[in-house]
Subunit: 253 residues, 2 copies
Amino acid sequence: MNKTLAIANQKGGVGKTTTAVNLAASLAATGRKTLLIDMDPQGNATSAAGVTKNETDTLYATYFEGKNIKDVIKESRDGYSIVPGGQELIALDVDIRDSHKQGFLASQLNEVQNIYDYTIIDTPPTLNQLTTEALLSSVGTLIPLQCEYYSLEGLTDLINTINALSSKTNTNNRVIGIIRTMVDMRNNLAKEVSRELETHFEKVLFNTLIPRNVKLAEAPSFGISALQHKADSFGAMAYLALAGELIRRVENE
Amino acid sequence: MNKTLAIANQKGGVGKTTTAVNLAASLAATGRKTLLIDMDPQGNATSAAGVTKNETDTLYATYFEGKNIKDVIKESRDGYSIVPGGQELIALDVDIRDSHKQGFLASQLNEVQNIYDYTIIDTPPTLNQLTTEALLSSVGTLIPLQCEYYSLEGLTDLINTINALSSKTNTNNRVIGIIRTMVDMRNNLAKEVSRELETHFEKVLFNTLIPRNVKLAEAPSFGISALQHKADSFGAMAYLALAGELIRRVENE
Ligand SMILES: Nc1ncnc2c1ncn2[C@@H]1O[C@H](COP(=O)(O)OP(=O)(O)OP(=O)(O)O)[C@@H](O)[C@H]1O
Ligand SMILES: Nc1ncnc2c1ncn2[C@@H]1O[C@H](COP(=O)(O)OP(=O)(O)OP(=O)(O)O)[C@@H](O)[C@H]1O
Ligand SMILES: [Mg+2]
Ligand SMILES: [Mg+2]
């Protein structure tokens, strides 16, 4: 039943990694077998999963050294599995373009198709080959978005890029939802942007709002999700609610 | 006297564009002739300067069409000039690598060397050819940083990358300073990270703290800086203070 979902937005710092990690932990908490793939050279999701960066194999080993993806999978402390990321992924970004090996990740993921219920892919803040691999491998994309001006500005381009890629390569990735992150409804800017989103993107907008909550920013320094760090925090509960909303959207199709 | 400074950090959403735009406006307010270069395909600095994106020439025209950089410069409403950015810069990123044209921006900037006192370059959240061009053209780099775990994690790598690039290409770019942005000293995480920075990076840390202030997030939707939007806001005053600190560091050498 493996549903592969990409978390993407070329706007930086909108909560892609925070969403990937806390969604994976929440899905695992509902008993669904979940794999997280860190496609970002920064490797933030890898540290958030409690795995030491740059000391463990990444997709570099499966791409250049012929290792099987199953051999690089590590276990987080939150009940989900992870394929680590790190600086060496930059070499993949260059070689996939130069050798025209687009689609490499999709064929790797076939190996684990029957093991997981969900595969979540965290991507870097740029539409490079690594992000393209994630989009090509997915049946759906989640777009985390801050309710601020610069984020709103790039949204339409991003949705067009995702749709154009699917039709060009005849793959079936589509935007499953927009997630409003770090929301502080006390300020007018957030309310205004949120209203714009409700007017123009109503069908794809998730109802769950993720509030700004310091527990979400603290948790990665302990290598765990907010669910483990402080289960009753507003941040942890919001991501559990988001997981519930995602399950309804994806499993009831 | 033109001092060319890059604003860089591959961590997304740390306030690179907000710093570039508000620093340019503050330097202009002190009577220094300032040029802002938007090297980001997102083009956020271009909209913040009140210039309509994708309707005006970018460095694409100077790179592929032989236009002179002086012909693409526009005026902001804040008293600084800007070379616009936008999606078409992605073509430069690919061609600079493929045709080994590193150093193109530095030679373009020679044309305007005697016109400006400061040139500020905003970069995308990734260490690609566009960011490399900015680093190769600069005498100094400013690193905006959020006082949070993921930002701190990538800092040492970033500083090493900047220094390695300078020694490899025999250029004289160095890290002039780290700027703490979106600081909310009410929360312990920010205090803790700030203390870490003071212990390990004291010599390069700017004293000026940029507080989280909604006026900074509102201003770009009007195409102006916070200085114009609300001059007495904490955000606008912090960037004026930062410009003062930068001037002392750079001009008193
Ligand atoms: N809801 C939230 N409340 C408080 N802090 C948050 C929240 N979501 C994310 N953060 C913090 O904001 C910063 C940016 O989030 P994050 O790194 O997840 O974004 P990103 O989109 O993955 O960034 P990048 O573009 O660099 O990959 C991080 O320091 C994170 O801890
Ligand atoms: N001091 C501040 N107070 C409040 N909001 C801020 C502040 N600095 C930046 N912001 C807002 O935070 C978001 C991220 O800032 P900004 O876009 O400048 O970061 P960036 O590093 O340029 O992002 P990218 O990595 O996408 O280029 C923006 O919506 C911006 O308006
Ligand atoms: Mg991330
Ligand atoms: Mg920016």
